[in-house]
C-alpha cells in the first residue's frame, strides 16, 4: 500500500532500501521477537478511510453530534471556562513551527524558549512573583505539586484546606499526595506543611478572609499555597500582595478554548528564593547572555533538580506538559495588557452580580453566599425541583445550565454552580432568569 503518511511505502523505494541494508524482507528485522509473541493475524480494527475526504466526513459527522457552547447558551464553569479566545491566540498556536516542535535546543528552537520565558515573565507581572514555571499538565497537577513542594520545604506532611475546593481536584490530591502527605485538619499545628486556599473558591467566592488563611499558615510555620484563577487578577489583588508563598492554578481561561478538557495547563509561582526554586520538578526557563554581546539566550535554570537529570533522585518527576498553552497564555496577556485585564475583571464581576441579583428574584432559587464578592461564579440552591430536573429543563430550552453540585456538595442541597463570562450580554442573563422562572414556576 502507498499511503500519504508513509512515503517509503512506495514499492520501488522499499525494495531499494532493503537491498541497501542487505535484508531479504522486513521480517528479518523482527528476528529477535519470539514466534510465541508474534501476532499472526491482522489487528481487528475498523476498515480504514484512506481518502482524506472520507475521514473528514466520518469525524465531522461524529463531532456534529456535540452541542457546543457556541451552539447553546452556556453557564458552565467549575474548572473549565469558555472565555473569549482572541483570534491571534489561535493563529499563533496553530503555527506549524510551534505546533509541531518538540525538544530542540535553545538555538534552532530559540523562538520556543523565548516565547515560554516571556510567558513566565508575563505571568510574573500578573502575579507579582519572580518565579513561574513552564506549564505543567493542568491546574490539578500544579496544586498537587505545589503542596508536595510545601511538604519538602517544611519537612512536614499535613495540608489544611481553608476553603471549599473542586471535588475532582480533591480526588487528584488524594491520589497524588497518598503516602506522602495527609489532607485536612485545622489551620494550625506543628505538623502543618501548607494551608491551601482557593481564590476565588470553587463556589466562586472571593473570600474576604483569604489573607487571614495566609497569615494562619505563616503563624504555624507552614507554606501558604493559594490556588488562583488568573483571569480575575486585573481587579483582584495578587495573592503575593497578602503574603502567599506559592500561587498555582490553571491558565486555561487565558486565551485557550475548553477543548473538552484538553485546554488545561498548570502554573506554579513562587518568590525567587532557592528553597522554593530547588523544589520545582518542572522546567524553569531563564534568560542568559550568549557568546555574542547583547544577545538574549535562554536555557534551563537549575536543571539538576529534575528527574530528567537525576531520575528518581530528582524532585517528583517531569515529562513534557503543556508548553503550547503557555505560549498561548503569553499571547493572551500581551494582547490584553493591563487595561484589558482590568476591564475584563470589572466586566466579569458586574455580570456575575447582575445574574446573582436576577436569579435571587426567581421564586424557587436561593443564591448562596450572596453577601460576599464573587468573581464570575456563584452557587444557587433550588427549592421545589431537583438540580437535575432544572438542568434537563434548561437543556430542552437550548441552555447549558450551571454545573450540578447536588452529588458533590450534598450539604448545599439541590444546587448548581453558575458561571458568567465576558461573552454574556444582558439579554443572555435575562433569558436565563426568565427560563428559570418558567421552569421553577
Amino acid at each position: 500500500m502507498e499511503h500519504p503518511y508513509i512515503p517509503n511505502s512506495a514499492p520501488r523505494v522499499k525494495a531499494e532500501m532493503l537491498a541497501a541494508v542487505g535484508a531479504a524482507d522486513i521480517e528479518e528485522f523482527y528476528a529477535d521477537i519470539p514466534e510465541s509473541l508474534r501476532l499472526r493475524r491482522p489487528l481487528d480494527l475498523p476498515a480504514p478511510m484512506r481518502g482524506e475526504a472520507d475521514l473528514v466526513r466520518h469525524v465531522e459527522g461524529l463531532l456534529d453530534r456535540n452541542t457546543s457552547t457556541r451552539d447553546a447558551l452556556s453557564f458552565l464553569g467549575g474548572g473549565s471556562y469558555a472565555h473569549h479566545v482572541p483570534a491571534v491566540c489561535d493563529e499563533v498556536n496553530s503555527r506549524s513551527e510551534f505546533l509541531t516542535a518538540y525538544a530542540g535546543e535553545p538555538y534552532e528552537d530559540h523562538g520556543r524558549f523565548q516565547a515560554l520565558w516571556e510567558y513566565q515573565g508575563l505571568m510574573g507581572e500578573l502575579l507579582e512573583m519572580d518565579v513561574v514555571n513552564v506549564p505543567t499538565y493542568d491546574g490539578f497537577q500544579a496544586v498537587a505539586t505545589a503542596l508536595r513542594m510545601a511538604g519538602r520545604v517544611t519537612g512536614r506532611t499535613r495540608v489544611a484546606l481553608a476553603t471549599p475546593i473542586d471535588p475532582a481536584l480533591r480526588s487528584k490530591l488524594d491520589d497524588y499526595l497518598r503516602g506522602a502527605m495527609t489532607i485536612g485538619g485545622p489551620l494550625e499545628g506543628d505538623d502543618l506543611a501548607a494551608v491551601y486556599t482557593a481564590y476565588p473558591t470553587y463556589l466562586g467566592v472571593v473570600d474576604p478572609k483569604t489573607p487571614e488563611y495566609v497569615a494562619a499558615a505563616h503563624a504555624a510555620g507552614a507554606v501558604a499555597v493559594v490556588g488562583c484563577d488568573p483571569i480575575g487578577l486585573g481587579v483582584l489583588a495578587p495573592p503575593s500582595s497578602f503574603g502567599a508563598d506559592i500561587v498555582c492554578g490553571d491558565i486555561q481561561p487565558l486565551g485557550i478554548h475548553p477543548h473538552f478538557g484538553g485546554g488545561h495547563a498548570g502554573y506554579i509561582a513562587t518568590r525567587d528564593e532557592q528553597r522554593f526554586v530547588q523544589e520545582f520538578p518542572s522546567r524553569l526557563f531563564g534568560i542568559v547572555p550568549t557568546a555574542v554581546e547583547g544577545e538574549y539566550g535562554f536555557g534551563d535554570v537549575y536543571y539538576d533538580r529534575t528527574s530528567f537529570a537525576l531520575r528518581e533522585e530528582g524532585k517528583e518527576w517531569v515529562g513534557t506538559a503543556a508548553a503550547l498553552w503557555g505560549i498561548t497564555a503569553g499571547v493572551y496577556l500581551s494582547l490584553m495588557g493591563p487595561a484589558g485585564m482590568a476591564e475584563l475583571g470589572e466586566g466579569l464581576m458586574a455580570r456575575c452580580r447582575y445574574l446573582m441579583d436576577a436569579l435571587a428574584s426567581v421564586p424557587g432559587i436561593e443564591v448562596l453566599d450572596a453577601g460576599v464578592p464573587h468573581l464570575k461564579e456563584f452557587a444557587v440552591r433550588y427549592t421545589g425541583k431537583t438540580a437535575a430536573e432544572v438542568d434537563d429543563a434548561l437543556r430542552d430550552r437550548g441552555i447549558h445550565g450551571g454545573v450540578v453540585l447536588s452529588k458533590t456538595f450534598p450539604e448545599l442541597g439541590e444546587s448548581a454552580l453558575y458561571c458568567v463570562t465576558e461573552l454574556h450580554t444582558q439579554a443572555d442573563l435575562d433569558r436565563l432568569a426568565a427560563e428559570l422562572k418558567e421552569i421553577l414556576a
Partner: protein, 503 residues
C-alpha cells in the same frame, strides 16, 4: 530575525484586543461591582504587562515562530527517543471545530455524544492494539501515564492487603519518569543495567525480585532499539513473586500489529499518543497518554470511564476502587480525536505498514550512519534494530575532542535537530536517531549527509563545530548563569531586578 523581548516593545496606551463592552443595563443595575471587594483584595496597581497594538503582538509571535524549528519544517529524526512523526494537517483541521474546541467538558452527556463515541471507539482500538481489556485516555502525556500506571499498581496491591510491596524495578534505558514516578509514589527504585549484549540483565532481575516487589516497569525495545527476546521471562519472573509487569510502550511504533503487550503477559502498559499515534508535540505539550490494563486492574482505572449501553455513551463516575482523577475531566480531547483520526486513516494494514517502514527506515539509517568514520552503535553488534538506535561518537570524540553535544549544535546550522538524549550517559557521546515511518529515503540520506559533513568538520575544523551554532538566531549560551541563584532570571521582573538594575 533576532526579535527583542515583548517587554521592551511596550508603549503606554496601546491596546491589543478589547473585551466586550458591558451592556449599559448591567452597568446601571449593579454599579461598580468591584466596590464590594475588601481593599486588601482589590488590586491597587495594574499589572505591569506590556502594552502593544494587535499587529505588534502578532508580529512578535510570528517572528518567534520563525525562530523555531517544528517537525513540519525539518528532517526531524534526531529528537532522541522523542522523534515526532508526521502529524496530518487534516487532523488539526478537524479538532479546530467549535464542536470540539468550544465543548465544555462538564456538559451533560446528552450534548457530547459525538466526542464520547470517539473516546469509546478509541479505547476499543487501543485495547486491540495492546491486547489489553480496558484503556484509559485520561493521562495528559507519557509521564502522566506512567504515573497513572504506578498509582494503579499501588491501589491494586493495597486492595489485596499487600501494601508491604515497596519496591519497583526498572531499567536504566527506560525513561527516567519510570524511576521518578515510582519514587514519588513512595517506592524504592531498583535499576537494572544492560548485560554485555545490551539486554536488561535477567539474572539481575531474578536477584532483585522478592515479596517486596510491587512491579517491573520496563521498555521494549529500549532506546537502544534492541528488542529483548526474553521479555516474557522477565514478566514471568516478576509474576512469580506476585509483582505486576508494566510495559512502557513509548517505543511501540515499530511493533504495531507485530507483537502486543498482553501477549508477553504484561498487566499494564501505556502509549504516548504523540509519539506513536501522530499527535503534534506542541513545543512540549499538551500531549496525551493512554494506559491499558487487564481486567484485574480495570477497577482501579481513573474515573470516569466512558461506557456505552448500546444506545448511548456516558461517563461512569461510580467507580469505588478507582485511583480517582489524574487530570481534570477525561483527557486531552483534541489529541485523542487526532489520534483516532490517524488510526482511522490507516486501519490494521496501515498500522502494520507504519511499523514495518519505521523499522526499515531505522535499519537503513543504521547502515548508512555506520559508514561514517567515528560512529558506532554499541551493543548487539550486527543485529537488526527495531525503531531507533542509540549511536556513539566516542571514537570521533577521542580523535578530535569534539563532543556529541557540539555535533548537535552544529547540526542546527544545517537546519535539523539533534539531541544527545537522556541522562545518564551510559553510552558515551550518545546520539539517538529514530526515523519513524514519516521520512523518505531522500530525507534520511540528507540527514546522514549532514552527520557526515559535521564529522568531517570535526576533523578538519573542530573549532567551527565546538563553537556552533553559527547560523541560528543566537550563539552559544554562557550557561553558568543558569545555575547561579544570584543571576538566574526566570521572569522579566527578576531580570530587571537582578541584572538590569544591578548594572
Amino acid at each position: 530575525w533576532d526579535e527583542s523581548l515583548i517587554f521592551e516593545q511596550s508603549t503606554p496606551g496601546q491596546r491589543g484586543v478589547l473585551p466586550p463592552a458591558l451592556d449599559a443595563g448591567i452597568a446601571e443595575s449593579v454599579g461598580d461591582a468591584t466596590a464590594s471587594l475588601p481593599p486588601a483584595l482589590r488590586r491597587q496597581k495594574p499589572p505591569a504587562l506590556p502594552e502593544l497594538g494587535q499587529q505588534a503582538v502578532l508580529r512578535h509571535y510570528l517572528r518567534l515562530s520563525q525562530e523555531n524549528l517544528g517537525a513540519d519544517l525539518n528532517i526531524d529524526v534526531g529528537q532522541g527517543t522523542c522523534t515526532m512523526k508526521y502529524s496530518p494537517k487534516v487532523n488539526d483541521q478537524l479538532i479546530r471545530s467549535h464542536k470540539l474546541a468550544r465543548l465544555h467538558p462538564g456538559q451533560h452527556d446528552d450534548t457530547t455524544q459525538g466526542v464520547l463515541e470517539i473516546l469509546w471507539r478509541m479505547e476499543k482500538m487501543l485495547a486491540e492494539i495492546s491486547g489489553m481489556d480496558r484503556v484509559t485516555l485520561q493521562p495528559g502525556a507519557g509521564s502522566a501515564a506512567i504515573w497513572t500506571n504506578v498509582a494503579m499498581i499501588r491501589a491494586y496491591h493495597a486492595s489485596r492487603g499487600e501494601s508491604h510491596r515497596d519496591q519497583v524495578i526498572t531499567t536504566i534505558f527506560s525513561h527516567p519518569s519510570n524511576a521518578a514516578c515510582a519514587k514519588t509514589a513512595g517506592y524504592e527504585v531498583i535499576t537494572l543495567y544492560p548485560d554485555a549484549d545490551g539486554y536488561p540483565d535477567l539474572e539481575a532481575l531474578k536477584a532483585a525480585v522478592s515479596d517486596r516487589t510491587a512491579a517491573l516497569l520496563i521498555t521494549n525495545p529500549e532506546d537502544t532499539g534492541i528488542f529483548n527476546p526474553r521479555i516474557k521471562e522477565f514478566v514471568d519472573v516478576v509474576h512469580s513473586v506476585g509483582g505486576l509487569a508494566c510495559y512502557d510502550q513509548a517505543n511501540a511504533n515499530g511493533i504495531l500489529g507485530i507483537t502486543r503487550a498482553r501477549d508477553a503477559g504484561f498487566d499494564l502498559c501505556h502509549f504516548n499518543l504523540h509519539k506513536t499515534f501522530s499527535t503534534p508535540h506542541a513545543c512540549g505539550g499538551p500531549a496525551a497518554g493512554a494506559c491499558g490494563v487487564t481486567g484485574a486492574l480495570a477497577p482501579f482505572l481513573p474515573s470516569p470511564t466512558v461506557e456505552f449501553d448500546g444506545e448511548r455513551y456516558f461517563l461512569d463516575h461510580d467507580r469505588p476502587e478507582s485511583i480517582g482523577k489524574v487530570r481534570p475531566y477525561t483527557g486531552v480531547a483534541p489529541n485523542i480525536v487526532r489520534a483516532y483520526s490517524w488510526i482511522m486513516s490507516l486501519g490494521a494494514e496501515g498500522l502494520r505498514e507504519v511499523a514495518e517502514i519505521a523499522v526499515l527506515n531505522n535499519n537503513y539509517l543504521l547502515t548508512e550512519m555506520l559508514k561514517i568514520p567515528g560512529v558506532s552503535a554499541p551493543y548487539a553488534k550486527g543485529k537488526r534494530r527495531i525503531e531507533q538506535v542509540r549511536y556513539s561518537w566516542e571514537e570521533l570524540a577521542g580523535e578530535t575532542g569534539v563532543h556529541s553535544e557540539d555535533i548537535g549544535l552544529r547540526a542546527a546550522d544545517y537546519g535539523v535537530h539533534y539531541w544527545t538524549s537522556h541522562h545518564p550517559y551510559l553510552v558515551p557521546e550518545p546520539a539517538t536517531l529514530e526515523p519513524t515511518e514519516s521520512y523518505s529515503k531522500a530525507d534520511l540520506d540528507e540527514y546522514v549527509a549532514i552527520m557526515r559533513a559535521v564529522a568531517e568538520e570535526a576533523r578538519t575544523d573542530p573549532e567551527t563545530v565546538r563553537t556552533a551554532p553559527h547560523r541560528s538566531s543566537v550563539h552559544r549560551n554562557r550557561e553558568a548563569a543558569l545555575d547561579d541563584p544570584n543571576v538566574w532570571a526566570v521572569t522579566w521582573r527578576a531580570y530587571r531586578r537582578k541584572v538590569l538594575d544591578a548594572s
